[in-house]
């Protein structure tokens, strides 16, 4: 047990000092509680604001995604149509014209301007001809 070095205060002086300390603690508690409420309120406002902002961002992104989806579907349809209809016909036309060019020198001069650089790529495209230089 520690023994106080100073003589114990008389009851008449100890009571006001204890009350003062208690009041001080209560004041601190009130102040801390007020700060806690303030921080929690601010945090709530921040969370709600960021949630609303994210929600709007999601809506905007969804609209963009829908637009992209429509574009992608249209392009996909056009590419599919080309691959199934136009490409085989074009390939056949190039083949026929190449055969004809062998027999007709006049046309051969025209056909030779169109250089066939490949036999279709992954798009199942017809021979991708490019005008000769």
């Amino acid at each position: 047990m520690d023994t106080p070095s100073t003589p114990p205060a008389s009851p008449t002086t100890a009571a006001p000092a204890g009350d003062g300390r208690l009041r001080e603690l209560e004041r601190d508690l009130r102040s801390h509680r007020y700060l806690l409420h303030l921080v929690m309120g601010a945090l709530t406002v921040l969370l709600v604001t960021s949630s609303i902002a994210l929600f709007h961002q999601i809506r905007w992104l969804l609209a963009q995604a829908n637009q992209l989806n429509v574009t992608a579907q249209e392009l996909s349809k056009a590419v599919g149509d080309y691959q199934t209809n136009a490409a085989p016909q074009m390939q056949r036309m190039f083949d026929e014209l190449r055969r004809y060019a062998v027999t007709d020198p006049d046309f051969s001069a025209i056909f030779s301007k169109y250089r066939v650089v490949g036999n279709g790529s992954q798009t199942n495209a017809p021979a991708a001809p490019t005008p000769g230089k």
């Binding site: 509680r33 806690l36 409420h37 929690m40 309120g41 945090l43 709530t44 969370l47 709600v48 960021s50 949630s51 994210l54 929600f55 961002q57 999601i58 992104l61 969804l62 963009q64 995604a65 992209l68 989806n69 574009t71 992608a72 392009l75 996909s76 056009a78 590419v79 080309y82 209809n85 136009a86 490409a87 016909q89 074009m90 056949r92 036309m93 190039f94 026929e96 014209l97 004809y100 027999t103 007709d104 006049d106 046309f107 025209i110 056909f111 169109y114 790529s121 798009t123 495209a125 017809p126 991708a128 001809p129 490019t130 005008p131």
Partner: protein
């Protein structure tokens, strides 16, 4: 004192609910962002394909136009070109009369 404690509880609940909602919305945001990026990539690939197709069509149109021009004086070539009337219409060219 009870009133203060009640306010603390209400605020704590609000913070927890707000944090939970925020996390859920954030994950949804990531999900939508991922979908949008995937679609964008797909659209870019399709646009590249469309560019190749347009180039092919332009070249085919040019060759067909020159062939048609010559075919007016050349019956042999005219016979060849008549086979491709649907394609010529597709290429917005006037096919030879039958």
């Amino acid at each position: 004192m009870g009133k203060q404690s009640m306010l603390t509880s209400v605020l704590l609940a609000a913070v927890l609910i707000g944090a939970g909602a925020n996390v859920l919305i954030f994950f949804r945001y990531l999900q939508v962002l991922n979908t949008a990026q995937r679609l964008q990539l797909q659209a870019q690939q399709l646009q590249a394909e469309a560019a190749v197709i347009n180039r092919n069509l332009a070249v085919a149109r040019s060759l067909a136009a020159e062939s048609l021009e010559l075919a007016r004086k050349n019956p042999g070539l005219a016979n060849v070109m008549r086979q491709f009337t649907p394609l010529l219409q597709r290429l917005q060219l006037n096919p030879l009369p039958r």
